[in-house]
Structures are given as structure tokens and as C-alpha cells.
């Protein structure tokens, strides 16, 4: 079963699994990454995300498995959007259910950190000036 998804369409926490899956979880943590209007002093109009989907899904699911082993959590999901995104659009969502808040927070942080480091997804910034560039390294 895959718990890591790549999506071309709009993503929103309400579209993720929001029901407590088994009523064993007392904590739900959500991280939402949003497109902001500036980076390193440049005004951004939009972002383009590109993805090597076969490996991204494989690596993303591996990260989720690692989180499930490493922390006392019940469920974890992650969805990353690709394509052209505007300011304010949600680019990535991590959602974790756990019995208690501590592991819920920690696992959520672990998953987004590892996704940013390991999953083959790339971000191009398009600027007000008309220029654009692929970001280099973890951005």
C-alpha cells in the first residue's frame, strides 16, 4: 500500500484522510508547505515542480516506512504536488496520526526533512523579472 503520492491537481489537507483511522490515535500532526512570494531577495510569481515519479514514489514510501519504524505512530501520509503552482498554493502535505503528540510532531518533522533531502523532485522559481531558475540543493 502506498502512503506517498504525487499529484498534478490541487492538494489540501481536507482532501487527505482526515478521519481518525482506528480511534487509537490521540494526536494528528499536519505539515503543509506553501508557495511563498519571495526567495533570497527575489520576487517569485510561481513555482514549477518536476518529478522523477517512479523513484519519488519508491523513496517517499521508504521514508514513510522508516518513520513508522522509528517513531511510535499509527499512520503517516505524504502528498507532493507537481506542475505549475501559484503563490499560496500548497506544494506538500505530511499527515501523521499517533497515540501522543510527541511522536506525532517528531515523525511529521522527520518525514518532511527526509522528503526534501531524498525524493527526486525539483523546484524552478519563476520571477517577476521574467527570469527563472532551478533551485540548487535543499531549498
Amino acid at each position: 500500500m502506498s502512503n506517498f503520492f504525487i499529484n498534478q491537481e490541487v492538494i489540501h489537507p481536507d482532501l487527505m484522510v482526515t478521519e481518525n483511522p482506528d480511534h487509537q490515535s490521540g494526536a494528528k500532526s499536519i505539515f503543509e508547505g506553501i508557495v511563498r512570494e519571495n526567495n533570497l531577495g527575489k520576487s517569485v510569481t510561481s513555482l514549477e515542480y518536476q518529478c522523477y515519479e517512479e523513484l519519488a514514489v519508491k523513496e517517499g514510501n521508504l521514508i514513510i516506512s522508516e518513520a513508522l519504524s522509528k517513531f511510535d505512530i499509527n499512520y503517516a501520509y505524504c502528498v507532493h504536488r507537481i506542475g505549475l503552482l501559484n503563490i499560496g498554493d500548497t506544494a506538500v502535505i505530511v499527515l501523521v496520526y499517533a497515540a501522543h503528540r510527541d511522536d506525532s510532531f517528531k515523525a511529521c518533522r522527520f518525514i518532511i526533512d527526509e522528503v526534501k533531502l531524498r525524493v527526486p523532485i525539483w523546484k524552478k522559481e519563476l520571477y517577476v523579472s521574467g527570469e527563472s531558475e532551478w533551485l540548487q540543493g535543499a531549498g
Binding site: G33, Y49, Q50, C51, Y52, E54, L55, A56, K58, E59, H80, A91, V92, I112, V115, K116, L117, R118, V119, P120, I121, W122, K123, K124, W134, L135, Q136, G137, A138, G139
Partner: protein, 83 residues
């Protein structure tokens, strides 16, 4: 006569821009490694000579020393910037 194999190379992000290709099929000599394939691309497309790119063979991360087989799929992976 030297034996040749055919492989596909898929490009993403800056490498897609530099090569102006999503994917290409190339013919290389049997016994080539991922490293020698990238060295070939450096010359062909003036790509950066860097050790910062990872490589995937048939949708799994691999070593640059991996011997490439006929019909393999290669992807050179610039530093990722998701999230």
C-alpha cells in the same frame, strides 16, 4: 567487433533544459558504467562535471560503478529541491 547495447536516459530539471530532451536512446559499448555514460554526456551536452548528482538505474538508486546492461534506464539526479 565491439559489442554495443542500447539504453535510455531520462532527463529532469536543469539536465532537461541543458539537453533539451525528456528522454533519449543512445548506443554505447557493452561494459560501460554509469560514470562513463555521464562522461559521454558531459562532452555531448557540455554538462557540469560534478560529483553532486546521484544516479538511478532502472528506477533504483545505484553506484556510478554500476555496469550498464542492454535496455537499462538511466537517470542522473541533480540535487533535489522538493518541499
Amino acid at each position: 567487433m565491439e559489442q554495443m547495447i542500447q539504453i535510455s536516459i531520462h532527463y529532469f530539471a536543469g539536465l532537461r533544459d541543458a539537453t533539451k530532451k525528456d528522454v533519449e536512446i543512445i548506443t554505447i559499448r557493452k561494459g560501460a558504467t554509469a560514470k562513463s555514460v555521464y562522461q559521454h554526456l558531459i562532452t555531448k551536452y557540455d554538462l557540469p562535471d560534478t560529483n553532486q548528482y546521484k544516479v538511478a538505474v532502472n528506477d533504483s538508486f545505484a553506484s556510478y560503478d554500476t555496469k550498464i546492461m542492454d535496455q537499462d534506464k538511466l537517470v542522473f539526479i541533480p540535487p533535489v529541491t522538493g518541499g
